[in-house]
């Protein structure tokens, strides 16, 4: 398992290939690889997004992501999983998050990747602040009506 939180821009495809080659040693039991990649859009609802800032809780976030991947390994019986998430300043088209899982069969890889990603979105301690060209404002989750801003 690999969990990484990065301050700088990264190449998600290179990271996945490198992990599979080096850490999984191209394990021949792997029959399925599933990848989710999230990137920064240049709009949110009716507003443009020029850039965003991502904050996290260093002592908690990495542990929480490890917990999500361990739960997915147990629940879906996948062989392994990887999560890389950006923090700091990002611009449209930059990768924000990559989730990759490896399993014997496709169903468990698809399900595990989705489970990890959905839990990450709703539970992992990260917060986005968007710059719409007029200033920064905090993003609110899609199902929240109590904070002033909208989610990307």
């Amino acid at each position: 398992m690999k969990i990484e939180i990065l301050n700088d821009k990264f190449d998600p495809w290179e990271a996945i290939v490198e992990y599979k080659r080096n850490d999984l040693q191209n394990n021949p039991s792997i029959g399925a690889s599933s990848v989710f990649l999230g990137t920064v859009r240049d709009f949110n609802d009716d507003e443009k997004v020029e850039s965003l800032f991502l904050e996290h809780y260093p002592e908690m976030t990495e542990k929480y992501l490890s917990q999500l991947v361990n739960e997915a390994i147990k629940k879906h019986k996948i062989i392994d999983g990887l999560v890389i998430h950006r923090v700091g300043n990002l611009k449209p088209t930059d990768p924000i998050v990559v989730v990759a899982t490896w399993s014997e069969h496709r169903a468990s890889a698809f399900d595990a990747t989705r489970d990890i990603m959905e839990s990450l979105k709703s539970e992992a301690p990260f917060w986005k602040k968007e710059n719409n060209g007029k200033g920064f404002k905090w993003v609110k989750p899609a199902d929240s009506s109590n904070i002033e801003n909208e989610e990307s």
């Binding site: 991502l54 904050e55 539970e123 917060w127 993003v139 109590n146």
Partner: protein, 77 residues
Amino acid sequence: MNICVKYFASIRDEMGIETKNIQVCEDLSVNDLLNQLIKNESIARTALVAVNHKYVDRNFKLKDGDEVAFFPPVTGG
């Protein structure tokens, strides 16, 4: 007892402080602490709470040396 309180994201902006160490009485719950510290009702209602880097519910009882973090609903990914 002594505890360390941390605020993140919009709650930190609202509170105007990132971290503070405070003395509180024994047998204090997370909800008691939240009501003492955060006066904005909307923020208090939606705040998530972690103690020593793990999510806890509002009834969780604090102990000496705990690190309590208050933060808004998360928006990663």
